[in-house]
């Protein structure tokens, strides 16, 4: 794995405009950055990212199977009791999932270490699946990358295939906060994929979702929603007024409610307890567990629910050395052994490994200046070096 100063294409903004990529700059800060790229060997991709991702995802599904039958686990994950039936039933029905992103600390010099699983509402999807792909094609076409260079990125075609295999009545509603540009862009991309898979799609702002007397979620025209993709985390949905209706509704969701078990930092101590010698798992404990003392004075403290690095504290020698402030944490914390994201030229690339359906499907890198990857991270493309 190398960081390569490859130089940006002078006309990339024109490519972005042509392909609907309007959030490459967010709040006047750059987000897409192609001045450099990360290069991997095929072995690094296949042996150290793709294979462990598939294996960890399978381990996660195994854990869900156990968690839904164990009230201690559901309670320990702080999933509200009123949501347990929704979580359980969705798993027992085998409601299909769409996608997720495993985030790893990886630098090419040892096993990738799982930091967390964003299994419910991951973004950075469009930029991975489309704009990063177009970047590679462009650099191959103009000879700036050697013939034979590749990219670990089958996300786009896997998403369409997954939508094509989705059971139901051939319709899909999609929702998010319509005024959040990155979220809206991600949902617009998924709507595009679903349309290509033959689904009749419609977008609704979260506020446009209604609930009728029969318990079905509906749109403003009172048309029942048979399946709803929501870029809105389950822990928020469960806490909302409509949360209690999820267990009884005929509406189906992407991601399904059982993903609440995985998109939760409480997953990490359970996985570690189950596979303490797994090369890709870091020691992790609930903060209420006395066994956490095994971590000593060097660890990361994470709220059970948080996104984009918010409220994460990095502790070395018992002292907080880095933290990102934010609104999470009331539901408790876990502690995880410190596995710093490796440093390349002073920058720290977090490796995001995409799962589509139940298969590992591609990679994205978000690069930060500091040790915690936040929503200010830059999206940097990657390629696989020609053999």
């Amino acid at each position: 794995m190398r960081r390569v100063r490859i130089g940006e294409r002078p006309d990339w903004r024109m490519h972005a405009a042509r392909n609907g990529f309007h959030f490459h700059t967010l709040a006047d800060q750059p987000y897409w950055d192609e001045s450099h790229a990360y290069a991997f060997t095929l072995d690094e991709i296949e042996e150290e990212i793709e294979a462990p991702s598939a294996e960890l995802h399978a381990l996660c599904l195994d854990f869900v199977d156990r968690a839904v039958e164990d009230e201690h686990i559901l309670a320990g994950l702080r999933i509200p009791r009123c949501a347990w039936d929704a979580v359980r039933d969705s798993w027992h029905r085998r409601d299909p999932s769409l996608y997720g992103r495993l985030d790893f600390a990886y630098g090419g010099d040892g096993p990738a270490k799982l930091l967390e699983y964003n299994a419910d509402t991951p973004t950075a999807l469009y930029e991975t699946a489309v704009f990063q792909w177009l970047w590679l094609e462009d650099l191959l076409a103009n000879g700036r990358l050697a013939r034979g260079a590749d990219q670990y990125n089958a996300v786009h075609e896997r998403l369409i295939a997954r939508f094509r295999a989705m059971p139901g009545d051939g319709t899909l509603a999609l929702t998010a906060f319509a005024d959040a540009p990155e979220d809206r862009g991600t949902v617009a991309y998924l709507e595009d994929c679903a349309s290509q898979a033959g689904l009749a799609c419609r977008f609704l702002d979260l506020g446009e979702i209604g609930l009728d007397a029969a318990g079905c979620f509906i749109d403003r025209r009172r048309t029942p929603i048979s399946r709803l993709f929501k870029l809105y985390p389950w822990e928020w949905a469960f806490a909302d007024t409509f949360g209690v209706a999820v267990a009884r509704t005929p509406t189906r969701f992407l991601e399904p409610p059982w993903k609440a078990i995985l998109s939760n930092k409480g997953l990490l101590p359970y996985l570690y307890a189950r596979e303490p010698n797994h090369p890709n798992l870091l020691p992790a404990y609930f903060e209420t567990d006395p066994a956490r003392a095994a971590l000593g004075t060097r660890y990361v403290r994470k709220p059970l629910y948080s996104r984009e690095g918010a409220n994460i504290q990095m502790v070395e020698e018992g002292i907080v050395v880095a933290q990102d402030h934010g609104p999470y944490g009331a539901e408790g914390y876990i502690r995880q052994a410190l596995a710093p994201v490796p440093c390349f030229d002073g920058r720290r690339p977090l490796v995001g490994s995409w799962i589509v359906g139940d298969a590992a499907a591609g990679l994205c890198i978000r690069e930060s200046a500091g040790p915690i990857t936040t929503n200010a991270a830059l999206f940097v493309p990657h390629y696989i070096e020609a053999a």
């Binding site: 392909n19 609907g20 991951p122 792909w133 990125n153 996300v155 959040a180 506020g207």
Partner: protein, 206 residues
């Protein structure tokens, strides 16, 4: 509105780790704005209903039993007490519902329309809760007919027009949205609260 890339076919002969083709059908070019054109408006099933001014009219129609008529009417009255639209002045209320159609509510600084009729499902299998109906002032509803032959126009408490098919008939066929109440706005509050003022810009993705 489409854009497409196809993998350079000369770049390799063997297996590949990336998509063969990446096509966007809606995002290309105009971006998200183009999506609005692609929205689907599925046709809806319709709901057969009966509209009666009061329980006596229902009994006289010989469709339901007297007990059913009285129970339906009582249910509509109960809903009326909670769900009647309120207005800050009599003028505003009468502008919507017609002169003489409004009374002061409790507390007395608000005004509500009288319950002019109620609507029930044509059959019990529809499981339609009886709903109070209010007069629609002329010009505010899609009242059919002309001049002296105009039919009374009604609206539900949430403002949907519900009108008899014509003549002295009590029957009507309406979209479900017109007669089935629903709640909106039950998703999103937690997200807005967690994210604070810039929650809108940040959203729920990560």
């Amino acid at each position: 509105m489409s854009s497409q890339g196809r993998k350079d076919e000369l770049d390799e002969g063997g297996r590949s780790k990336r998509s063969q083709v990446v096509t966007l059908v809606m995002l290309g070019g105009a971006g998200i704005a183009a999506l609005e054109l692609a929205r689907v408006d599925p046709s809806q099933r319709m709901e057969d209903v009966r509209i009666y001014p009061d329980a006596e009219a229902c009994v006289a129609a010989w469709v339901r039993t007297e007990a059913e008529c009285r129970a339906d009417y009582a249910a509509a009255r109960r809903t009326y007490a909670e769900a009647a639209p309120t207005y800050p002045s009599k003028d505003l209320c009468e502008a919507q519902h017609g002169v003489g159609e409004c009374r002061s509510a409790d507390p007395g600084d608000r005004f509500v329309p009288f319950m002019a009729a109620y609507v029930v499902g044509a059959t019990a299998a529809q499981k339609l809760d009886p709903q109070p109906l209010f007069r629609a002032a002329s010009g505010t509803s899609d009242v059919r007919g002309f001049g002296a032959f105009a039919q009374p126009g009604y609206r539900t408490s949430w403002g949907c027009p519900v009108n008899p098919a014509g003549g002295s008939s009590s029957a009507a066929r309406v979209p479900p949205a017109s007669v089935r109440p629903a709640l909106f706005g039950g998703f999103g509050a937690t997200g807005r609260a967690v994210c604070g003022d810039d929650g809108a810009a940040q959203g729920g993705g990560g």
